[in-house]
Symmetry: C2
DNA sequence: TGCAAACCGGGGCGTGCGTTCCGTATCGTC
DNA sequence: GACGATACGGAACGCACGCCCCGGTTTGCA
């Protein structure tokens, strides 16, 4: 790969990271290109589609989330709520995390899987109410994340939902 | 008003009601026109803008909601949760209710006001946790409504949030 | 029944977006 | 230093949407 191409790829990635973080997946691609000091065509040379760019940006963050979920503590309940808290923190700062649950990709699938595992174990341990299935939790989470992005005190929302989830 | 104009206005309103209910505010206006068996121009003859049409459709439903909130029972806590339940029921059936909280209009303002009053009284009565202000509740509700529209068991989500809201 | 006013339909405009194309500039090699 | 391959930029395309306009039709009153 040519040196300038490598440079531009990096610039695009970093511009996309900050643009997605503040505007979510919805930011126009032209805006990302402008922020990177590059034409839209250049973006498309490096990433075949907008979703691919989004996925590239989210890759390590999601992987880290999944790690966090997998390397959970012994207490399933604590692990579940810690994960929820972590997601909440991050979503309050960066708008793109909530889109990572919505925009389809294999990242999304892996994230769902990890989260589902946490839920099942927490329910088995009696820490989370049992009358809740994963799709319900997902719908709730999507809504919560959307709400987190537009309130000034995300901890409150998170606290409400967490309390509601306890068995 | 000419007879055919009256007929068309009614057809547009009823088509819009069903279109908004199943697709939310986002449904293309051309789709509503087609459903009414009418051209887009005709829709704009009767309603100056898409938002005006939406508002016309929601008018009585929102008014009924506000009535429900105002003519509340003696117990502030019960009134608050009954209102929440009512909203949840309706939002589970019709996707447009959640947009009524988002699309700006005087309906939106009146709805917010009524809901805020319920919250304040329920908190004063000790039925709802006090570490929550109206904007927080609103953000939570928006998210919840968005989630309700895409889950198969809306009662679960509603139950979680309600339990989380209790003092 | 005839005529003017009101209304209808759908084609068309402007906008914003994701995506593609291609003439031009840049890079790396001989 | 020159030449081929590679990458760049931004103009252009296709699409979807909200909204407007105008030629033709329908309506209701005289």
């Amino acid at each position: 790969m040519r040196a300038d191409a490598q440079r531009n790829r990096a610039k695009v990635l970093s511009a996309a990271a900050s643009a997605f973080a503040s505007g979510g997946f919805g930011v126009p691609l032209d805006e990302i290109a402008a922020l990177a000091g590059v034409g839209p065509g250049t973006v498309y040379r490096h990433f075949p589609t907008k979703e691919a760019l989004f996925q590239a940006v989210m890759e390590e963050r999601i992987a880290s989330l999944i790690d966090f979920a997998s390397s959970s503590s012994a207490d399933p309940g604590a692990a579940f709520f810690a994960f929820l808290g972590r997601i909440g923190e991050e979503a309050a700062l960066k708008r793109d995390l909530s889109d990572a649950f919505v925009v389809p990709s294999d990242l999304q699938a892996r994230l769902h899987e990890a989260f589902n595992a946490l839920l099942v174990r927490a329910q088995a341990a009696g820490a989370v109410r049992r009358d809740l299935e994963f799709p319900d939790l997902l719908a709730l989470l999507k809504g919560l994340l959307a709400g987190l992005a537009e309130t000034s005190r995300p901890e409150r929302l998170l606290a409400v939902v967490m309390d509601g989830l306890r068995a």
